[in-house]
């Protein structure tokens, strides 16, 4: 069901009024892969994600989906191809999980149209994929943080987009729930072929899970490529301004970054 879509940014300048956070950024998202965007706080990662999903108008440059500027694609049409899970969406008081997940069907429906069997199937599949089926009749305020994040993921899945952008999907979660969410994204990518783009705080989890790593510094892409190519002491120095050592993760073989603080002995 998934078609490969090309999402790219060219010469992008983004900001809020006078404050420019991204300037002259070029980026290509590899279709059908899992991409993680990393960078220091306030480097513009979330801003970039907002621009890629039409939420923010670039001051210069363009975001292109299959060659068309995203701001020229009708919103509902775009929302059937590209979904964004914001960092802190609002769950209305007393909403049930099934109702919330059902709202992911919005771009597939027209005003006053009836709820279809197709909508039911999409919601059921999303609940199943995120293992939230048994929560369907609970209200969202009764859920734990980890369950809640899975429910939001289910809503994004019910939208059935070929591209899914997530803004720090693992923030505020303990390590078990972080792994649960990232595993879900891997399954989504593997089973449905969804192109996943996520902003992540944790460099090591990003390197562990992503096929493609993008490091942002000084308003542009510092480096992009496989985690092994990108996650080096030089990148960490340039992006976060700290010294580090990078070793091979014994579990996955991916690079693992060990930061070196002021009070830690240098290896050399």
């Amino acid at each position: 069901m998934t078609a490969a879509h090309n999402l790219m940014a060219a010469g992008l300048r983004l900001g809020y009024r006078d404050l420019v956070v991204i300037d002259g950024l070029d980026l290509t998202i590899p279709p059908g892969r899992l991409t993680a965007i990393v960078g220091a706080n306030a480097c513009g990662k979330s801003t970039l994600l907002r621009a890629m999903s039409r939420l923010l108008k670039p001051q210069a440059g363009q975001v292109l989906l299959d060659g068309r500027p995203v701001r020229r694609i009708p919103p509902k049409e775009l929302a059937r191809t590209l979904g964004l899970l914001p960092q802190s969406p609002i769950a209305p008081d007393g909403i049930t999980v099934a109702d919330l997940v059902g709202r992911g069907r919005n771009p597939h429906r027209r005003a006053l149209s009836r709820w279809s069997r197709r909508d039911d199937e999409a919601v059921a599949a999303a609940l199943e994929a995120t293992r939230t089926l048994d929560l369907a009749d609970r209200t969202v305020d009764q859920l734990s943080g980890g369950q809640r994040q899975r429910v939001w993921m289910a809503m994004a899945l019910a939208q059935e987009t070929d591209l899914l952008l997530l803004d720090e999907p693992t923030t505020f979660l303990d390590v078990a729930h972080q792994i649960e969410i990232l595993d879900l994204l891997v399954e989504l990518n593997r089973d449905r072929g969804t192109t996943v783009v996520m902003v992540l705080h944790d460099l090591n989890l990003a390197a562990r899970y992503a096929d493609h790593l993008v490091a942002i510094a000084d308003g542009r892409v510092h480096s992009a490529g496989s985690p092994a190519d990108v996650l080096t002491p030089a990148t960490v120095r340039a992006v976060f301004g700290i010294d580090s050592q990078v070793i091979a993760d014994p579990i996955s073989g991916r690079p693992l970054m060990l930061p070196i603080g002021r009070h830690h002995p240098r290896p050399d």
């Binding site: 775009l78 914001p86 609002i90 008081d93 919005n106 771009p107 006053l112 609940l127």
Partner: protein, 339 residues
């Protein structure tokens, strides 16, 4: 599939509530026709309903029929407007009365009566809609100033202040004008007692347009409820969706105020009760609030005719008595948050 059966179960509950609400509305409408300052017999009711106005009893019934129709229309408009305003602003305190929209509409109407000699309902309605729209935009801008944007409490305060200011202006306009004071006063308290066929016929088209806009907006309101970013990523044009839904609410408030004066709290109470009954899905909540609003106004009007016989208490006073405790209850809830 468990979700499907659960969904079916909820749907069934909603249909059951819908039937109950429709039945309640029919009962209230019946009571509104049958009960009043003057006791009437069943024969007189039957004669009055068939259009006869011979005799005091049947004339009273005929008048009450018009009054009931107007109460239903006004209640429907205010209930809908409240549900839509709460959805548009994600604010549990949003209500055409609290946000000052109805008082703004009144100020416009009173200005029109006093200075421009307006006298047709259609003129009242246009002016009231303009006043409602200007006030809505003004209150939203004032409530959005400062840190944190349009929080529920700031918006309510901006509305209350605007409402008070508009009420003062109305007094300032009316006080020196003995010639219009009585008319304005009885209209301003909020009532449907002056119902006549002209008012109903002229307000109906505006209400139809407003109702259609609000019903069409219900699905967008569902997306907006998840926050602006989530709504946009679900394919909504957030600003356009808000503006369109607000237009529907403003039309309804303006039209209702033009014919019945500023009635507060209906738009506040009704959506909250409906949410308790049928949940937060606007595709149900919006039409449900219309029916419940009609019940509340019709019932309040009927009660107002009975409790102070032979005098009447206007609808606006009764809804305020019912609504004030609800308002305090909502504000006092431990977490005031955006919907």
């Amino acid at each position: 599939m468990t979700t499907t059966s659960a969904r079916a179960g909820r749907r069934w509950t909603r249909w059951a509530w819908l039937a109950a609400v429709v039945a309640a509305l029919v009962i209230c409408a019946g009571a509104s026709v049958a009960i009043g300052s003057r006791h009437v017999s069943w024969d007189e009711i039957a004669a009055g309903l068939s259009g006869s106005t011979d005799g005091l009893g049947t004339a009273a019934v005929a008048k009450r029929v018009l009054r009931t129709i107007l109460a239903i229309l006004v209640g429907l408009a205010l209930g809908l407007a409240g549900a839509v305003m709460q959805g548009v602003t994600r604010n549990p305190l949003a209500d055409p009365g609290i946000l000052g929209v109805n008082m703004g509409a009144s100020l416009a109407v009173v200005t029109g009566i006093a200075w421009f000699g307006l006298w047709t309902y259609t003129a009242f309605i246009w002016v009231a809609i303009a006043g409602a729209g200007i006030t809505a935009v003004f209150v939203y801008i004032v409530g959005s100033l400062g840190k944190g944007g349009a929080t529920p409490l700031k918006l309510a305060l901006a509305g209350a202040v605007t409402s008070a200011a508009a009420a003062s202006f109305i007094s300032a306009i009316v006080l020196p004008r003995a010639d219009i004071a009585d008319d304005v006063r009885s209209w301003q308290v909020g009532g449907v007692g002056g119902a006549n066929i002209d008012a109903i016929a002229q307000v109906a088209p505006f209400l139809v347009v407003g109702v259609v806009i609000c019903l069409v907006s219900a699905q967008s309101l569902n997306a907006l409820a998840l926050g602006d970013e989530a709504a946009a990523s679900l394919g909504e044009r957030v600003f356009v969706a808000r503006a369109f839904a607000s237009l529907g609410a403003v039309l309804l408030c303006g039209a209702a105020t033009a014919v019945a004066g500023p009635i507060a709290f209906v738009g506040l109470i009704v959506p909250h009760i409906c949410r308790l009954l049928i949940g937060v899905d606007h595709r149900w909540l919006v039409p449900f609030s219309a029916l419940a609003g009609a019940i509340l106004v019709t019932a309040s009007d009927t009660v107002g005719r009975v409790v102070a016989r032979p005098d009447e208490i206007d609808v606006g006073i009764l809804t305020a008595i019912l609504g004030a405790p609800v308002l305090i209850g909502i504000v006092r809830r431990t977490r005031i948050r955006e919907l």
